[in-house]
Symmetry: D2
Subunit: 343 residues, 4 copies
Amino acid sequence: MNAPVKTEDAFHRLIHENHMYGLWEIASQMTPHPRPEAIPHQWKWSLLSEVAKQSATAVPVGDERRAMQLFNPGLNGQWATTSTLIAAVQVLLPGEVARAHRHSPAAIRFIIQGNGAYTAVEGEKVVMREGDLVLTPSWQWHDHGNETKETVVWMDGLDVPLTKALNCIFFQMHGEEKFAQTKPVNGSKALYGHGHLAPTWVKERPSFSPLMLYSFEQTMDALNGLRSSEGSPYDGISLEYTNPQTGGPVTPTIACRIQMLRKGEKLKARRVTGSSVFHVVRGKGRTMIDGKAFDWEKGDIVALPSWAQHAHENRGGEEAILFSISDRPVLEALSLYREEPSA
Amino acid sequence: MNAPVKTEDAFHRLIHENHMYGLWEIASQMTPHPRPEAIPHQWKWSLLSEVAKQSATAVPVGDERRAMQLFNPGLNGQWATTSTLIAAVQVLLPGEVARAHRHSPAAIRFIIQGNGAYTAVEGEKVVMREGDLVLTPSWQWHDHGNETKETVVWMDGLDVPLTKALNCIFFQMHGEEKFAQTKPVNGSKALYGHGHLAPTWVKERPSFSPLMLYSFEQTMDALNGLRSSEGSPYDGISLEYTNPQTGGPVTPTIACRIQMLRKGEKLKARRVTGSSVFHVVRGKGRTMIDGKAFDWEKGDIVALPSWAQHAHENRGGEEAILFSISDRPVLEALSLYREEPSA
Amino acid sequence: MNAPVKTEDAFHRLIHENHMYGLWEIASQMTPHPRPEAIPHQWKWSLLSEVAKQSATAVPVGDERRAMQLFNPGLNGQWATTSTLIAAVQVLLPGEVARAHRHSPAAIRFIIQGNGAYTAVEGEKVVMREGDLVLTPSWQWHDHGNETKETVVWMDGLDVPLTKALNCIFFQMHGEEKFAQTKPVNGSKALYGHGHLAPTWVKERPSFSPLMLYSFEQTMDALNGLRSSEGSPYDGISLEYTNPQTGGPVTPTIACRIQMLRKGEKLKARRVTGSSVFHVVRGKGRTMIDGKAFDWEKGDIVALPSWAQHAHENRGGEEAILFSISDRPVLEALSLYREEPSA
Amino acid sequence: MNAPVKTEDAFHRLIHENHMYGLWEIASQMTPHPRPEAIPHQWKWSLLSEVAKQSATAVPVGDERRAMQLFNPGLNGQWATTSTLIAAVQVLLPGEVARAHRHSPAAIRFIIQGNGAYTAVEGEKVVMREGDLVLTPSWQWHDHGNETKETVVWMDGLDVPLTKALNCIFFQMHGEEKFAQTKPVNGSKALYGHGHLAPTWVKERPSFSPLMLYSFEQTMDALNGLRSSEGSPYDGISLEYTNPQTGGPVTPTIACRIQMLRKGEKLKARRVTGSSVFHVVRGKGRTMIDGKAFDWEKGDIVALPSWAQHAHENRGGEEAILFSISDRPVLEALSLYREEPSA
């Protein structure tokens, strides 16, 4: 897409024929600041819910899950919501199973609709309720099942564009439809889900959070407890889901956050390196992104590219709650994170 | 105490007079394994409660607190419960204030009796209830107050012998009786006390846990949630209180643990480097230490020296719960931690 | 490039029009193992030296340097030698200056030809000799100058494709041609270039190596000292240039290595995630990459994509020495590094 | 030694009989700043060399080595030069072997006199020359041998008082006089002793430096290269010997430094927590410690307690060089390090 304009004299012909270009031909790609091809984009819940509904009859759940991938309009058909992240809306009907597989891309699920379906991760059945965050970290076997009587809808978040760019994608289908459930139901929540009390007999230190379920009840307790805090001038009461063994992000590549914009709250604008995707859990509001207004309400999903100036505002009659995923752990690990408040 | 036996020929006289000794004169101090001077010792609650009661009238609370220090009988009058830790029982009467000071030794408090008194730490009033763990980390201003109508009793745990051995003790009395309360009551619990959700706007990363209050309610929830786990063969359902920002110990020098011995549970014996002090929160049982039985019940405090063989057993009709402090973070930081199961 | 095939019924029309695709339409992109678009490719020194020679008259050194970028033939005109790295051959004539700028992509230089030119990094003039490695880490001001009478040629290595994929490129031209030289010539070598002796008065801990010059003399001393070691069955006597403050890679995104293949040495094949580019410093040999032979000699540059099976062999009459850059620190930081010996 | 003064009323009798003391009885031990029992003390080379000479005939080398331990006069016969460190002068005659053993205390050797004797560490024979630093980290088998024709004298530095205070001493005598030499002579120097080039095939990451020999030649090269640097106002050109795998101290408990005081250099005074022992490698000078002058020359050894105000001054006609050991890594690991410039 960024192929250089060719300058055709003998020297340039020589180098071009031999797969070389002069820096002077392409230096404009070294931009003063990031200029992502990805654009800010919003998928409204009115659309997403219609798509979710129609998908139930239009496509079967099969080896590849009934997951509608959100393609950033700026990225020319790449499997990507932002340059590093893919978000999707996945639907699982009563009685269905999305069969067991594993992949090097890490995945998270945020439950939008329906209670009681499960994701099984390496032998632990994790029961999912609305507002819960569920992890299926890199290379962990997982399958999903819906043993309830209602349709379940969740948002997937994966780092597929990143792992693709790094040429690190591995994928494996399991021999059985379901991975054997060898651990207690919600067992990692019992082990790791209690405030700052760690089981001393566990020696494993994986590269990701060993806690697979972050329940919405705990999330709301935390937000409510901080309702009267000052919070961040840019993000409001913004909490990061953390790995209990390190205090760091839930996976090495994807960070997850929940943020509360209190009634009437209008936050300041800034830019940060790295991209994110946010989902409206509750409330109504507006996010100004590079000068354009995105008015959102419950269920909407919005892509926020790197270095885009953005400012959130609650414009509803109650608090607004946003869940988001971002590639910030990558930027921080590589010392490429920057932020810049807007004047 | 370990002064070498002097061998008196001319050469030895020469070196001794000049503050030198031959390795051959003292090499027996390089023992095959640790031989602590500290001994296992138990302070029974029947004694401690009587002392607490009498102390109310026998001594005022003053600049130095009404804290009865537990001196290990093996340590010749050193201010030490084990070689690195001091434990004490502190009493605060209704209306009393233990004035503000700070010191480089780190301190923890475990509430034994009474609800509603407070410890104020660097401007945060922390309200204490039975079973709570409260931190006053190194060099943090703190004062205690009892505005309730009942006497409050807690166990102090500090690393005084360690900081003394390292010649690192600093102490400062505050100009005022109370340090100004500039933060919300129990504010660190609101910020850090929720399961694995971290405030993104906080940039401070102190060397200790920023969470000052670990409530007993959360502790019991965690223990109860793991009641049917296998746990550790040596420690049962043993949980470490952790620093939410790192997943590590609450302070760089003192680790805190809570452990549940289920009804009828008899654990295996082992030795570990480093010492600990445990307090019986609930139940009855026996700990065999280097072949000697220590039968304990609610309120007792027991000193466990380094490398002592020890095995716990619940001998009561219900679960037993032990709280403990140890110097394990020190041993681990210096790569001196070892453990050895007993045959 | 990987745009999904569209399945055109009403449901699919609905989702495609709204920038959504079914996972079932694109799941084949989740490959069993990495399938890079980049291909193995070799630029021979016979070509590179001719290009370097012609470039001296064909193009001026200007704001954009006289650097011929090696474009991987599989990457459709992207500014990339592998998916994450760009290598180039840069030429600086006597009397020329490549003016001061800085950029978030990190860069390294490996000197191919000519002694005595300099790279100035944040005020330190670093004098470069053949075989030296010179760093210009992320966002450090740097300019190059040639005050000698001979043409200088070096290989550039940057992480441009990575920082582009992460939308983190920042670039800034300096107001002056040269950044003021405020530090001693080769001063970082004096400070950090001595074996395992660190200046205690320096408090800075940048995210990259503070040592800007790794001299060839030291490199050859190290290789010669290990000539009789077993080394790696896959890489021979392979040494990583390290950050003296951490023992880790020289920058968070690019690792540099030097390896010696002894006379007659034929190494084993393996695959690793992540890509690299190697340059032949000395000797002749062959690298089998995914079944294809690449016969190389002094001066050649070869691109090695992620997960390509590769095995090196010395086929000359003396030792062979290869310098290489790779993105391995990125893979390791994100827990995506894997290696697999070939059967 | 710090046993509290007993206050004898009924309450105090009750608590004292039961191994308890009131905080009010001992609070004076919580001092405003460190008040070590160890005192500054100097052992002159005129004494040490005489002792070394007489020791050759007065005592055999046996299982316990011919090592004269420097006992701090303030520490009442404790095996300690400072509160955490023991230094000693060890003598090995031609043909002698100090038999193989290992212990949890870490040890370093700094060679004072004689070239060509060896320390063997876990199978690596390390040949020692004057000015070399040799490590025998915690729990590594080691023996010493002198196959030359001259007497060898070195300074030992160990963390015995620390490991004793922590009750972590383990000691084991080897079955054979010498541990089998299974590795190349000076092999760790070949592997790790080259400037910032790390062998990629080595996977071990011990808790200590894997480099056993820091040669004086490299040390002097580094000092000479920095002769014209500003250095530290308190320590001059002060370099820390580092672990090449981490950039940190050579062992978790003992740091080693070399410092050059240039001709006429008079440094500023300060206090730091933690103690050290320094040995004069070259030159003459004076160190003011807590107001008392210690005039030193080549060969002298001086103990510097925690928090003592100290300032060094070169008073000879050439540069002065000091080697020192300290417990600073312990203080830093436990967040107890402090420094305070003197007004």
